[in-house]
């Protein structure tokens, strides 16, 4: 589903974000990407979305080598990938319902599909009663649920989450993790970048650890700080 082969990414001024990273993530896996701030987790995720290009190495996402993807095809790549962020990235002037419906409208789904899918997914994330609220009327955990609903509503093959629990308290984080776990059980590959130790330790899933851009650990049922 996702494969990186000797990927190196350096930003201007010779800041190396990723150094010769190789990884292979199968369909349906749940992978934690751990490491301190600046270890390259976010770059890892941005590369998969083709928001950045690697300096060297090759990347495959959903069966396609993305370096060979022309610019106008990038939107179609992103339709296979749901994204969740620490800061939610909801549209502040659209309601909960509209924020989720937006993801379907953007990819040209017909009206009846939007009208049946959106309530269903809002039900799944436990926000059935908050359809008409604006994001700023919700708690952080609820906002993150909306953003997960938006990421998952078109049933992507892959869900990328960049510090999804970074702004949330432990009990709210637990709820979010249960939701991501549930999505993973439908067959969706989940890659989650985090430095939330308790979350990683509780889930006991595959852990890929980055340290200043270098992959230092890839463990099948890992915890956050095995060797550190």
């Amino acid at each position: 589903m996702i494969r990186l082969e000797n990927v190196t990414k350096a930003y201007k001024g010779n800041v190396v974000a990723l150094r010769d990273v190789s990884a292979d993530i199968q369909k349906g896996e749940f992978v934690f990407l751990v490491g301190a701030s600046g270890s390259g987790k976010s770059t890892f995720i941005r590369l998969l979305l083709k928001e950045e290009r690697p300096n060297s190495g090759r990347i495959w996402v959903a069966g396609k080598e993305i370096a060979h993807l022309s610019n106008w095809k990038v939107p179609y790549l992103r339709r296979n990938i749901g994204c969740v962020f620490q800061d939610f990235k909801l549209l502040p002037n659209k309601t909960v319902y509209e924020n989720v419906a937006f993801a379907l409208e953007v990819i040209g789904r017909p009206k009846h599909v939007v009208e049946s899918q959106v309530p269903q997914i809002l039900d799944l994330v436990g926000l059935a009663k908050k359809h008409d609220n604006l994001p700023n009327e919700l708690s952080g955990g609820e906002q993150q649920r909306v953003s997960i609903a938006r990421a998952f509503v078109n049933r992507p093959l892959i869900l990328l989450a960049d510090e999804p629990t970074g702004n949330l308290d432990p009990s709210t984080s637990e709820g979010i993790m249960r939701l991501l776990d549930r999505i993973n059980r439908t067959g969706t590959t989940v890659v989650m970048a985090t430095h939330d130790r308790s979350v990683v330790d509780a889930m006991r899933r595959r852990v890929i650890e980055l340290d200043r851009g270098t992959l230092v650990r890839d463990q099948v049922r890992g915890v956050y700080g095995a060797y550190t």
């Binding site: 939107p75 992103r78 990235k89 937006f102 993801a103 040209g108």
Partner: protein
């Protein structure tokens, strides 16, 4: 890739409503800038009109010798009538010239009696098709048999032509500069409005919207703002023109500047066209800055 019309319509309408302040700013900017452009354009039309009338009033006089024969003056008249450059001619007989002379000097009876009808030169008053042709026509008849003198206001005509040409050029330049400034101002306002919504654009990209899908609602917004602003500008220009024309309706000099309703309407169409283009194309360019993959 099908972009649904109801999506575009809804998105455009909602965004216009939700970004009411930015929308108003853009519409107002378009209105003010284009009203200035429209004003300059109409002023130029007015000068064109007035120039046409001034130049239409330019004429020359060919004075025959008082003792010239009928054959000689017939020859001059025939030649004048045959010339395409001549618009119309008027023959002033010795009697008519004498009457004019009497009228002109009616306060000095001594002088009045100094000339008899026989001594008055008959003349042809010639109006050319174009003011510039006065000299051409005049030169041709200077040496004709029976012609005493050809009189025209050479320097005045030249000065008038030069002045109106410069005035027209200046008004063109002013309109052009205003148009450019208006375009920049409108573009900048649109860019600011879109900059305020770059987050929204980023989210659209994230969920897999194609660039045109993002761009088109913005273009329709720009189109709407441009047309609304231009329409307001047109209204302002229209009212000001009626007001100005009404105010100067009894002043002979200014009446020549009067522009017709057709002129105002065509200027209005031009303004709306410019508004729509700058709005739509400007938005498309402005949003492209935030679309880089």
């Amino acid at each position: 890739m099908a972009i649904k019309l109801d999506y575009v319509a809804r998105e455009t309408f909602h965004n216009l409503k939700r970004n009411f302040l930015m929308t108003s700013a853009a519409v107002l900017t378009v209105a003010v800038s284009l009203a200035l452009v429209g004003g300059a354009l109409l002023l130029k039309r007015g000068v064109d009109k007035a120039t046409l009338q001034w130049r239409g009033g330019v004429e020359l006089s060919i004075f025959m010798k008082p003792d010239s024969s009928a054959t000689e003056s017939d020859a001059v008249e025939r030649e004048l009538r045959a010339m395409p450059e001549v618009k119309r001619i008027k023959y002033v007989s010795q009697q008519a010239a004498h009457r004019e002379f009497q009228e002109m000097f009616k306060n000095s009876p001594d002088f009045q009696e100094s000339l008899t009808v026989d001594q008055m030169p008959p003349s042809y008053r010639v109006v050319p098709q174009q003011a510039e042709q006065v000299e051409l026509i005049g030169e041709r008849f200077k040496a004709r048999a029976g012609v005493e003198e050809v009189v025209y206001a050479k320097d005045q005509i030249k000065a008038l032509l030069k002045f109106t040409r410069i005035l027209q050029l200046m008004l063109w330049a002013v309109a052009l500069v205003l148009l450019l400034a208006a375009s920049m101002l409108i573009l900048n306002t649109i860019r600011m409005a879109i900059f305020a919504r770059r987050r929204e654009v980023a989210v659209m990209k994230l969920v897999g919207a194609t660039n045109w899908f993002i761009r088109i609602p913005f273009m329709f917004e720009g189109l709407f703002q441009g047309i609304a602003g231009a329409a307001a500008a047109f209204g302002v220009v229209w009212i000001l023109r009626n007001f100005a024309q009404h105010a100067v309706r009894n002043v002979e000099l200014f009446r020549q500047f009067a522009v017709s309703t057709t002129d105002v309407a065509s200027t209005g169409v031009f303004l709306v066209f410019v508004g729509a283009m700058v709005g739509a194309v400007g938005s498309a360019f402005a949003v492209t800055r935030f679309l880089d993959v």
